[in-house]
Symmetry: D3
Subunit: 185 residues, 6 copies
């Protein structure tokens, strides 16, 4: 039964408004056991808005979709376009790989990976977002396929990435996978 009214200043793109009503509906339905049919959310644009002693005439910027940021980063990495990949990273970016290997620079990661496999690719099964205020955490899981250093191949190796996105930039990547279970002795 909930009816949710979101009062906004005008100027948000239809896409942003759609994303907003969808996410708010999902947040509501995560709390209350109500079917989609009974969940109504709408955006009401107001013409003048005052808070904190100031009159606003235009809404705040919209965030990019965090899972899109992550997807674009991962595609750039797979295409080995390090320059593009770097644009999605926050200056204080930090990544952590299996074995608790912590790195900050993409080239370090590439060097480290080169010692472990000759080629690697990711098949994504799902991107999922956890909305936490200033930060959105994106999880993506799926399977890895590639070639070991010794030329043998692997596929169907489970992985999951956890990426923190803040103000549209990735601040942290944590990677888990089953490669060690499959690694040639």
């Amino acid at each position: 039964m909930p009816v949710v009214s979101i009062t906004l200043l005008p100027g948000y793109a239809p896409d942003t408004q759609h994303r907003l009503v969808n996410r708010v509906a999902q947040a509501v339905r995560s709390v209350i056991d109500t079917p989609e049919a009974g969940t109504t959310v709408f955006v009401n644009e107001v013409s003048t808005y005052r808070r904190d002693g100031k009159v606003f005439s235009e809404g705040r910027a919209a965030h990019p979709v965090a899972s899109d940021v992550v997807r674009q980063f991962l595609q750039a990495m797979q295409a080995r376009d390090m320059e593009l990949a770097q644009t999605f990273l926050s200056p204080d970016f930090r990544m952590c790989f299996p074995g608790s290997v912590v790195m900050h620079a993409l080239q370090d990661m590439t060097a480290w990976a080169a010692q472990r496999y000759a080629r690697i690719g990711k098949d994504y099964q799902q991107f999922e977002e956890s909305w936490q205020g200033d930060t959105t955490v994106v999880f993506c899981h799926g399977s890895l396929h590639g070639t070991w250093i010794d030329g043998s191949t692997f596929e169907g190796v489970r992985f999951i990435d956890r990426m923190e996105v803040r103000s549209g930039l990735i601040t942290r990547q944590d990677v888990w996978n089953d490669l060690a279970e499959h690694r040639p002795a």
Copy 2:
């Protein structure tokens, strides 16, 4: 600047209403770049509500907090209280462990684990929820500590669990960890 009004039938517990306004605020802030200070959410209880040709006088049930369900399940597992642990699982529960090991029954899992380590404990760093409508996915990550079969010990081994919760029951658990990176040869 968004002001969000959630219209509900009366009868929801204060805790549920708090959870609701918090989650809706987080959903809104995941889309719009607005500070906490500019984000207002309130619950408006109405006295009579009609939709779909029916007049309702009482709100729907609230879901339990999905990450609480997961936490209670994991605690029961750690305490080896299989009976209690089972109460958190959906009849079609399915789990998947490193190496793509798929199981459905808790005792199968215990048997499988017994071949890999003598004892294991989890230190949880974070529980995170992804609200997806009928399903809430809970991610928790942290580190494992325990004793191998050979009596040697391990600690600080990274893990992440992904649990799907539906109608208050866990339908699926996926586990990734670095145990294979640390396993004695």
Copy 3:
């Protein structure tokens, strides 16, 4: 898709609120081609209300249901309880019967009817209301059965009544029926 919010002062009985949301939904659906599933109406009780320079703390009275008033009047007439029937009539009550026979007093009507049939009864098929602001017009149709002056009987004779109700009292009754089609020559 319409969502209708009715802001009221507190104090209206649940029955009145149910009637209100149902009628408003019907009024909306008479204009917009929207299914019941997409029509939401709720009552929002406010705690303080000011209009026309006055602060109100209690809502206005509810009208009785106009078709109930009409039904009770017709039952009293059928039971020949003229005293009770009279209580449902406005001082300026006026009725009009087939042949444009206009009367103001119930006893005139009884006298007039006595010349036409010995006994009469009504089977109601439907009561329908037309909401017109200060006045609600109630239409009821169905069939008549009874006994003519000569002792022969009739049944299944179509009739329709149109009754104007104002402030809970009937101000006007117009009657049409097929008795003349069936009257013994």
Copy 4:
């Protein structure tokens, strides 16, 4: 005192919105004893609307005014433009005339009428609508004038029509009148 807010998607014509606020005000005033001066109804157009898991960007169609449909049908009948009259009828149209004469086709009705009078016209006193959800029932009453088969004339003969309108088409017409009271023996 009621303040009624109707939340709609944009795109409804001003005429439709006027009709909507007028009818909702009448529905409200049929329940609560409030003067026009204390009855406020407004339409609030929202920019994005989500219900039942779908985002809508355009409102539903408006129904034609049911009493206009009836009026146009009756005018076409009076002008003996059967082709036009037929366009206002639902495929399952059914009419019922004094004496419980039931017909489905306009030509049957014309044939039936030809045996009763040579010419007939209607003076409408009032069209009244009863809003019942999927159906709006239109009542119109007034007086008939015309010429009998024998060439004698009549006028001031009371009639009332009850017409059911569904999705803009008339599904049922019931007619009552005093012709039998006036018919030459």
Copy 5:
């Protein structure tokens, strides 16, 4: 915490809407001890509005800012542009000066002043408004400087004016000042 929604017909200038949200916020904060940061006011323009049985499609006119009216009047007076000054006065204008001197015409006032000082000017410290429904009372205070009849000068003489403004015209001016404290004997 208050969130105030002002529902208006469209057509009010942005300036008027800004004034409205600012004043309403001030009225609210004069009653409730809430900081600016917790006070939200917005204007919601609706597309169709019905009250008192009438459908409105355009909002009412805005009043001029009462303190602007007063300021313009006082400037015209200072510039000795009596014709312009007169345009800000209501036909029933009445002024009252120190010593309870009551006058109605500007020229009377000029004549009266000519007996008291040769020249006078006002430095305004503050204009303040008291909103009282049909009337807004404007207070302005500051200091006077000028030249007495005897050629000696004065400055820093405190004054306060109280002006009633109704429908954009000044109906009453009351003046207090310390001139008598400083007047040469």
Copy 6:
């Protein structure tokens, strides 16, 4: 036509809510030329409210009525109850009397007055408030009556006080009057 909805947490006394709707109506009517009959303001109490990342369950305190504070202070002064009068003053209280006499302590004022008149009383004609956010300015005007040092009396001497009230305490009093116009030479 404005309809103003004030959303509050529950717990404000009816008196406070009445004051709130009255003042907001006056603020609105100071901007828009709308009659009382067309001005609707109501208070909507919500059950849960979140802003700035916090969930509130109780509204903020209400301010005392500023003109009541001033009235009580002036009454205490007139009754020469300095102790009581002092309780209405802010620690940084400052008063300014005709002739630009500035004082901070009530006893200084009493001493100063003793040199000017033997006894004084005030007849209040009107208390008026100017709502300015953190401060409410109260103006009161009327006439003075009393006895000069030489035993002669005066009455009908115009005065106006301007008092700044902040958080329920008077921070500043400015006084103008015509005493110098009437003072015995």
